[in-house]
Subunit: 303 residues, 2 copies
């Protein structure tokens, strides 16, 4: 079992879905990632919050394997995001994004973090992702997320990051955009030529598609009768995926495959409640039951 | 192994995709269904063509286990459809639909067809689907397809059919519309209460979701680097699904599950070429290889 260092946003989210609203709940990509990954291993969180982030709110990290030495606390307001989901939760509109203290964030890894073997660069400016990579010494496995905003806006910086990572975790639309190719198989191959040997394509309610040396692996999303809030599902997936990898004795294709299930299981728990509540309320027993449910959902005997 | 009787359209399709065009190729729901199902069992085709349907064109059915005694040939033109697909093949626009001889089509089952134990009612007017059901004696398993046009336009007739069938095969949008429910799990349960104990939801490039007594089964679509023409993929899936069921000794949940793979495998072959060419060119060996590819795509060891 190895620790993971992650860098990304910690935020206050306000979310409206057809099932209700949640205001100023703790969110952010690095938050979802850390909580999810901490089910499997020790997580070192590098992020920034403002002085409006209370001790009470800090308790989402408490009692978990999350080290906060890299969490900067600076004067000003914490990153805030507000969004609203459409009736089938497959579309959302951002009401506002206020970077606040995140605008001047420069990730600084505490010395003990520099030898962390597993690294996850959440969706932030690729120049910041690169800064993190210069601060870690020979990591064993580096994964990153990104989004259309950086694919369009900072293509050179993004390409530089892609050359230095082992895995890229993005959604299908981003994969098509990054590769400039509508066929997802061809897009995946094109992205692998940019650097990452592993590509994990997140498809929301349609599950996950992952490259492997011997061919794709695909897992559908768990059909759920209660989906309350999809916010953070992708980051939760990434946390479960990386957490499982880091907890494995060695990294094989079979481990990548099971890591995909681990991420999918945690993501399916996360969306069943607002904000982090679905994750925070999940016990290891519930998680194991969800693993088993994925096996039942997808298993068939060869014809 | 049992025979299947199917009723639906035989048509001339003209298709334009980003990869080329095909003009006046033999298509239609009942055609795709019959060719696919004939990989597994004997198929009895009830449909109508005009006198413009040549002997040459009839050869798509030749050398297969497809009985044509129920294929009416009447004066006039065969059903014609023309459509054009968008750049990622997930959207299409119908240029025209000319029912022609199909407009006055009344399905008539030849006497020997009346005892056929497996029945597939392709996507036609639910009143015609009901007419077919009155002509079969105590079928063992009846499945049907339908579409938004009938869900909106002839809801009463459709409800009457739903009460008489064992399985409904529709796409996810249609399932949501039929149930008036955006959550697919709840929609599935609502549709089951309308009659069919089995619901198979076709999700195009995202695969298939099926109800079972002990919970859902889901299979992703095969990631393909060459998708030329998705026309008929859903009907091909239905043919593989029903053909596999009809060829099984008994119908169990495990058989339903494998039937879903059989349908998915044939559909994945169908879309790799224009019109029926992908199916017509597929050997049993190629089909078996595709089955195995689905197992590799989805298999994982329990965590």
């Amino acid at each position: 079992m190895h620790p993971i260092v992650t860098v990304g946003s910690v935020a206050f989210d306000s979310v409206k879905t057809p099932f209700g609203e949640a205001s100023r709940v703790v969110g952010g990509a690095a938050t979802y990632f850390s909580v999810a990954a901490s089910f499997f291993t020790d997580v070192r969180l590098v992020a920034v919050v403002g002085d409006d982030f209370t001790e009470e709110e800090m308790r989402v990290f408490a009692g978990r394997r999350i080290d906060l030495a890299g969490l900067q606390r600076v004067p000003g307001e914490t990153f805030r995001w507000k969004g609203e989901y459409g009736f089938d939760l497959s579309t959302r509109e951002t009401t506002y994004t206020r970077l606040n203290v995140f605008d001047r964030f420069r990730p600084v890894l505490p010395d003990p973090y520099r030898s962390t073997p597993f690294v996850f660069l959440a969706n932030i400016h690729p120049a910041l992702q690169a800064e993190v990579l210069t601060q870690v010494d020979g990591p064993r496995f580096v994964a990153a997320d990104t989004m259309n905003y950086w694919i369009d806006g900072t293509p050179e910086e993004l390409r530089a990051v892609l050359r230095r990572i082992d895995a890229l975790l993005i959604n299908d639309e981003e994969a098509r955009q990054l590769a400039g190719e509508s066929n997802l198989v061809k897009a995946a191959r094109a992205i692998q030529r940019m650097g990452p040997r592993l590509l994990v394509i997140k498809r929301g309610e349609h599950g996950v598609l992952m490259t492997r040396d011997q061919g794709f692996f695909a897992v559908p999303a768990m059909p759920l009768d209660t989906v309350i809030d999809p916010t953070g599902a992708g980051d939760t997936f990434a946390g479960g995926f990386m957490g499982y990898l880091a907890s494995a004795r060695e990294i094989t294709d079979a481990v990548f495959t099971r890591a995909t299930i681990a991420g999918s299981a945690l993501a399916s728990l996360a969306v069943e409640d607002f904000g982090l509540d679905g994750l925070l309320g999940a016990s290891p027993k519930v998680l194991n039951q969800r693993f088993a449910a994925f096996k039942r959902l997808t298993h068939f005997e060869a014809l």
